[in-house]
């Protein structure tokens, strides 16, 4: 089974929501990651058949299904909101797609409902209505509904986004094992880079309605091919500082470091620094020194987020381990190892130099 989006574009109200998307999704799980308004939901709705594309084709299992109504397709969809039939019990909610599926005979429905409920851990809730369930249980029911009958394409649109932190962690772990033996194409979208990294599946990075990159998510994290990919996969957000190449060195905010690759003098570059690579103490020779003013220190317990103001009104966030206390308004110096700096082309956003030190993360 494969799902192919062939040159799919969607334009609504004069805006381009999807721009010439080419994707080939094989059997198994694929993660779709991108910021809000990247076009994730639109892409999923096109793949499901809920939204006809303005141009391009949708091909499932070598069959063009572009014009075919969603009613006649073999798809299931899980929404960010918990969508269940409010008047039906959990049991009936899970059974309803099976009752409408001619492949299921009457006596097969009951065992299948119980099997899926068992899988999702909601066996003891079968007699309740959705309004009597917690958010996590409602979403488990919705996912059970989607998993109940085998489909060619299973789409999950940010299914964990509306759940609180602990439930999200728990359900994510359950889903990972569950998708391992789901037949058909599973496309899972998320705006949370950590979620994409946790699933460690094939990943499509979507940005501004275009496919930015497709590949292994850990590879992409270690060697982001473009600024957009690096920014999408970085949480907390990637720090960006403008620099310029001069005589084999990259100058940034009054200091400089050796350019990893030869570039013409005067070439404008954008430096990407992950917050956890910023240090408050020198931990090796050759580190880039950046004088800064402390603006704010957010303590979460296991980590401290230090907001800094650099020269030229540039902001920088440092992600430091543990609880550390700072006084806002004081000045300090922060250090960044040049090996951990991504150098992007200012004009096109392509990665010009990759940092050697990040590679070991993959292994």
């Amino acid at each position: 089974m494969t799902l192919i989006l062939d040159g799919v574009s969607v334009r609504q109200r004069g805006e381009t929501w999807l721009d010439d998307v080419h994707l080939e999704l094989p059997n198994g799980m694929t993660t779709l990651v991108g910021p809000m308004t990247a076009g994730k939901t639109t892409l999923m709705r096109v793949a499901a058949g809920l939204l006809p594309p303005d141009s391009g084709r949708v091909v499932v299992h070598e069959k063009d299904v572009t014009g075919i109504s969603v009613r006649k397709r073999s798809v299931a969809f899980v929404y960010q909101q918990f969508i269940n039939y409010p008047s039906l019990t959990v049991y009936e909610n899970i059974a309803s797609p099976l009752r409408l599926d001619p492949r299921f005979r009457k006596n097969e429905i009951d065992p299948r409902v119980r099997e899926v409920a068992e899988l999702m851990g909601i066996s003891d809730l079968l007699g309740r209505r959705p309004a009597e369930l917690s958010g996590g249980q409602q979403q488990r029911t919705a996912i059970a509904r989607a998993l109940a009958r085998p489909v060619d394409v299973l789409l999950l649109d940010e299914p964990l986004a509306n759940l609180d932190f602990k439930l999200r962690e728990q359900l994510r772990a359950d889903l990972k094992t569950m998708f391992a033996d789901t037949p058909g194409v599973v496309l899972y979208s998320t705006a949370d880079p950590n979620e994409a990294l946790t699933f460690a599946a094939r990943t499509v990075v979507l940005g501004e309605g275009r496919v930015q990159h497709v590949g292994d998510v850990a590879d992409m994290y270690a060697h982001p091919p473009t600024l957009a990919v690096a920014a999408t996969l970085s949480d907390p957000p990637l720090n960006l500082l403008p620099g310029v190449v001069r005589d084999g060195r990259i100058e940034v905010l009054g200091t400089s470091f050796p350019a990893p690759r030869a570039h013409a003098t005067g070439h404008d570059v954008m430096l990407g620094i992950r917050p956890h690579q910023v240090r408050i103490a020198r931990d090796g020779p050759g580190a880039l020194e950046l004088p800064a003013e402390i603006r704010l220190a957010e303590v979460t317990g296991s980590a401290t987020f230090l907001h800094l103001l650099l020269q030229g009104d540039r902001h920088l966030v440092a992600h430091l381990p543990g609880t550390q206390l700072f006084t806002p308004g004081e000045t300090t110096v922060v250090y960044v190892d040049p090996a951990h700096i991504f150098v992007f082309d200012e004009a096109g956003g392509r990665l010009l130099a990759t940092s050697a030190a990040e590679v070991d993360l993959h292994g």
């Binding site: 709705r45 499901a48 809920l50 969603v70 009613r71 798809v75 299931a76 969809f77 929404y79 909101q81 969508i83 039939y85 409010p86 008047s87 039906l88 309803s96 797609p97 409408l100 599926d101 408050i280 103490a281 220190a297 543990g322 609880t323 550390q324 206390l325 700072f326 006084t327 004081e330 000045t331 300090t332 110096v333």
Partner: protein
């Protein structure tokens, strides 16, 4: 460098908890709120409770003139319940309310489902549907009194001369009843439709998409997605339409005046004849108190049944 130092293993102590407040403390504090409620209490007493007490006062006396009154106890209440005229009017009114609910609720929901969900036609449909609601009761009565007339009314004339059905609401009791019922449906179904439409609009789009993906039919979508979501607004619609139709006065007063015979003499018409026409304030007082109680009890029953079956 002025970096901070790492904090580790520090025990955080909190201030000792304040002694718990006793019940008496809480009670004393709450009393101030009564001053905020006072203006409402005064105005409700002045406009509703005191006038109602006047009615209670009348209901236990036989009033010949303001200075000549006789205390009669509960006689007027017994008489109000016993009088066949009153009993007939009660059954008539109950039947009318039941018919109003049976027609207006499904029709209003059907109109709401058929109304467009987005685009230019939304406002057009809303204005069109809301139009009857903007017309005063007595004007609605006048419009229908003329419209349904067999000789000069467009509706009545069409039924008689185009459809060939004999129709005259001034002579035939069934025709009069149908005229009043159709008029009420015309006037008040829009209210049900607007309430239901508001309820339908609040259903998120993904519900409909999910039903589509399941391959659910239009009826199943309505039955399992739209109808459950309408429970709240329909409870309100049923209560409003019941109370209003059970107390209907102006329109039948203008169109038929309660006739022909007593065919459209609803409780309110009978009551106003008694109180204002014949000036029998004693029986009318007792009668209106019973009327008031019936409305209260039926509303309570409706509300309890409708909200309980939801759970």
């Amino acid at each position: 460098m002025t970096a901070g130092s790492q904090v580790s293993g520090e025990v955080v102590t909190t201030a000792p908890a304040e002694p718990q407040e006793t019940r008496a403390d809480l009670k004393r504090k709450d009393n101030r709120a009564w001053w905020l409620v006072l203006p409402v209490v005064v105005s409700v007493a002045f406009t509703a409770i005191i006038p109602l007490m006047t009615v209670v006062n009348f209901s236990v006396q036989d009033v010949f003139s303001p200075s000549d009154r006789v205390f009669v106890g509960l006689d007027w209440f017994y008489e109000a319940v016993r009088r066949p005229e009153n009993r007939e009017a009660f059954v008539r009114t109950l039947l009318f309310s039941a018919q109003v609910l049976l027609v207006e609720i499904p029709l209003g929901v059907a109109i709401a489902v058929a109304m467009p969900r987005r685009g230019f036609w939304v406002s057009a449909a809303l204005v069109l549907v809301a139009l009857p609601l903007l017309i005063p009761w007595n004007v609605v009565g006048t419009i229908w009194q003329i419209f349904a007339r067999a000789d000069i009314g467009l509706g009545g004339w069409t039924i008689n001369n185009v459809l060939g059905i004999g129709f005259n609401y001034t002579l035939d009791s069934t025709d009069a009843w149908i005229t009043i019922l159709v008029m009420d449906v015309w006037h008040w179904t829009p209210l049900v439709a607007l309430l239901a439409y508001a309820g339908l609009r609040s259903i998120p789009e993904p519900y409909f998409q999910a039903a589509q993906i399941d391959g659910a039919s239009g009826w199943a979508t309505f039955r399992h997605i739209q109808l459950p979501r309408l429970r709240g607004v329909l409870t309100i619609a049923i209560l409003l339409r019941f109370m209003d139709s059970f107390m209907i006065y102006t329109e039948p007063f203008v169109v038929t005046g309660g006739g022909p015979g007593n065919a459209t003499s609803f409780l309110s018409i009978l009551l106003s004849k008694m109180a204002v026409g014949q000036f029998d304030v004693g029986p009318a007082g007792a009668f209106s108190l019973i009327y008031f109680l019936i409305v209260q009890v039926l509303c309570y029953v409706f509300f309890t049944v409708l909200t309980r079956s939801g759970r």
